[in-house]
């Protein structure tokens, strides 16, 4: 029991949760609107897309890289899917777009994977390149424009709700979309994959030390390649959810989200050098950022401050984890 509580006190997630609770109470005190049923559902709603992205970004971070191409990747694969289906006059259920988007996501992810697995260049530089290739391909070659009407199956899926929360005072209602289940599904799948499969352990091993992982018998190249395929699929799912929920395909809507998602994951305690981190942390980090973004409006801070706040959050969050890392290193040196 004592060991558990000590472990809890040392964990990053605990402090993050503490920050979130304190922040929520402060916002509640300032606005009186935070702990209302509809606001909580709104926050859950706002978490879906960044949450799914965060799972993918988390996996890359654990493997020791930083991927900035996922919003472009998601945009391209969802754009291609929507375009294809709209042109074909498709009117069926959500399953066909879902399958298509998974296929496109896997293909584009494989493109990332080919480069990252083969070349000893920082993943960031590679994905900066592929992100531009993706968005350039979408906007140049496909001549992307906004698609105002998306296939019926997608918009139905976007509108489908699990339940409706009503604020007893103001009468405002918020819908809990079915898409939330996709976030849950992706989370569970990623959890099982990372914890119970050799592949998942390989991802952690890679992030810890690549040559040790290779000597321990992991196929480094194959692991990296498949990791980016999976991340491509996850990102595309997030893109599909966003497009369905917005009820239109806006090609550049997702671009620029990468920073916020990476910040969320890093805040969640995933070591920037790779090898450690938990999905719980990644989700808590996303929750914190979503709360900050949502509540600036509640508390009445102009949205101009969003970029500034995000920058400070990233720097403070990474600084804490960097300082912890230095401390651990010093301690190990002292013992050795």
């Amino acid at each position: 029991m004592k060991a558990t509580s000590r472990k809890l006190l040392k964990s990053n997630e605990f402090y993050l949760l503490l920050v979130i609770v304190v922040l929520s109470v402060v916002i509640q005190a300032r606005s009186g609107q935070f702990f209302t049923a509809n606001n909580l559902v709104d926050i859950a709603n706002a978490m879906i897309v960044p949450g799914i992205f965060a799972v993918g970004a988390f996996m890359v971070l654990v493997s020791g890289g930083i991927d900035v191409s996922f919003p472009a990747l998601a945009s391209l694969s969802v754009y291609a899917t929507t375009r294809l289906l709209v042109d074909a006059g498709y009117g069926g259920s959500i399953w066909v777009p879902l399958a298509l988007v998974v296929v496109f996501g896997a293909l584009l992810g494989a493109f990332n994977g080919l480069f990252t697995a083969r070349f000893a260049v920082p993943v960031l530089i590679i994905t900066l390149g592929t992100a531009n290739v993706f968005s350039g391909f979408m906007q140049g070659a496909l001549g992307s424009v906004q698609i105002p009407t998306i296939p019926a199956g997608m918009s139905e899926f976007g509108r489908a709700t699990l339940f409706v929360a009503t604020n007893p005072d103001s009468g405002l209602t918020s819908n809990m979309p079915v898409a939330f289940l996709i976030l849950v599904g992706v989370l569970v799948a990623a959890f099982v994959l990372l914890r119970y499969t050799t592949f998942g352990r390989g991802v952690y091993a890679l992030g810890g030390d690549e040559s040790s992982a290779a000597r321990a018998g992991f196929n480094v190249r194959a692991t990296k390649f498949w990791l980016y395929v999976i991340v491509g699929v996850i990102a595309s799912l997030a893109g599909l959810v966003r497009t369905s929920m917005m009820d239109q395909m806006h090609p550049t809507n997702l671009l620029g989200m990468e920073l916020m998602v990476i910040a969320a994951v890093v805040l969640g305690g995933a070591a920037i050098t790779g090898g450690t981190g938990t999905l719980t942390g990644a989700m808590l980090g996303t929750l914190l950022i979503v709360i900050v973004q949502n509540s600036m409006i509640l508390v009445g801070i102009p949205t101009f401050w969003q970029g500034f706040a995000l920058g400070v959050l990233i720097i403070v969050g990474t600084a804490i984890s960097a300082i912890q890392l230095t401390r651990v290193r010093k301690r190990t040196v002292a013992f050795a």
Binding site: I66, F115, R118, F119, A120, V121, P122, L124, I125, I126, L128, G129, T130, A131, N132, V133, F134, S135, G136, F137, Q139, G140, A141, G143, L259, I262, A263, V266, I272, T273, F304, W305, Q306, G307, F308, A309, L310, G311, V312, I314, I315, T318, A319, A322, I323, L325, T326
Partner: protein, 327 residues
């Protein structure tokens, strides 16, 4: 030297296909006004990369300082004030811009060297931070109505021929070159980049070295901001958003090793010119939409990575020897 060959081929292609554009002076002058914007940023990224880091905040620094100095100029010399005030504003703006650039760079350097956050994350975060500050100062709108003196000075031409931005770029390049190859500081940069532990054990003050490097990068970025301010005649928080990639691309293309420790200034300068020529060449084809540009930059970056890897095994040399040339 490969890059020089690429440049020659590119120029020859340009001269053949678009002869009238190629031999007209305005083409070259507009190029010389354009490329210092990202060229200066690339120099900063190069310095950071030589010590094994990276600076992704250059565009943020440029926009923040441009908006800051534009605001200062408007404050000193509001619309309709006389020329004297305009020149005071000009000098003050340049001073403020370079100072803020140095401070921003110092923040980057401090976070990298002292707090020990990886440079990628620091500069991603400060990019967001600086852009955020730019948005706050400007309210998200373009800041314009600058004193005309600023535009006059920046648009002036040496001997009626060489545009001011080019002069700024050349001066910056020469200064950086002197610093890198004629001073101990430059040698230390390469040492730090090739092996940080070894560098600190051989007595280098790695912290101060890193901070000074990022400060230089910040100053160069703020100079780029001044050029942008002149070229657009206004400042806005999201100008030059494609330059981050472009600057990284140039530096990698110029042969700087992303892991630090090697690469030369001449390569980077050559890469800047190659990309500007490529870009101007694309401009002469109106049917190629500007949306293709990111695709092309991205593809070039990936291609360079591939070629560099292939080259490391000596394939390229073998290839040339097979052709009968001694490369």
């Amino acid at each position: 030297m490969r890059l020089a060959a690429v440049l020659v081929v590119l120029l020859a292609f340009f001269a053949l296909v678009k002869t009238e554009n190629f031999f007209s002076l305005p083409t070259w002058q507009s190029m010389a006004i354009q490329f210092p914007e990202f060229g200066l940023m690339a120099l900063g990224v190069m310095l950071a990369m030589v010590i094994g880091g990276i600076d992704l905040s250059v565009v943020g620094v440029a926009n923040m300082t441009a908006i800051g100095s534009a605001t200062l100029m408007l404050w000193i010399a509001p619309v309709g004030s006389d020329a004297g005030q305009g020149y005071v504003a000009l000098v003050a703006a340049i001073g403020l811009s370079l100072l803020v650039g140095a401070l921003a760079g110092a923040l980057n350097g401090f976070l990298v060297a002292k707090v020990r956050i990886p440079a990628i994350l620091v500069t991603l975060g400060t990019f967001e931070l600086f852009t955020g500050i730019a948005v706050i100062i400007s309210g998200g709108k373009p800041t314009s109505g600058l004193p005309p003196q600023y535009g006059e000075v920046m648009a002036s031409r040496l001997f009626g021929l060489i545009p001011m931005p080019l002069i700024i770029f050349v001066v910056a390049t020469v200064l950086v070159g002197l610093l890198m190859y004629k001073t101990a500081f430059g040698t230390k940069l390469y040492m730090l980049g090739s092996n940080e532990t070894a560098a600190s054990f051989s007595g280098l003050k790695t912290t101060s070295l890193t901070i000074r490097t990022y400060m230089l990068s910040g100053v160069l970025a703020s100079a780029a901001g001044l050029v942008m301010l002149a070229n657009y005649n206004s400042a806005k928080a999201d100008y030059g958003s494609t330059y981050t990639l472009l600057a990284v691309l140039i530096v990698v293309l110029g042969g700087i090793n992303p892991n630090g420790g090697s690469g030369r200034l001449s390569g980077v300068v050559l890469a800047v010119v190659v990309l500007q020529v490529l870009s101007s060449l694309l401009n002469t084809f109106p049917q190629v939409s500007s949306f293709y540009r990111p695709l092309i930059w991205g593809a070039v970056l990936l291609l360079v990575i591939v070629v560099n890897q292939w080259d490391r095994k000596g394939n390229l040399n073998r290839f040339f020897r097979w052709k009968g040339k001694d490369a």
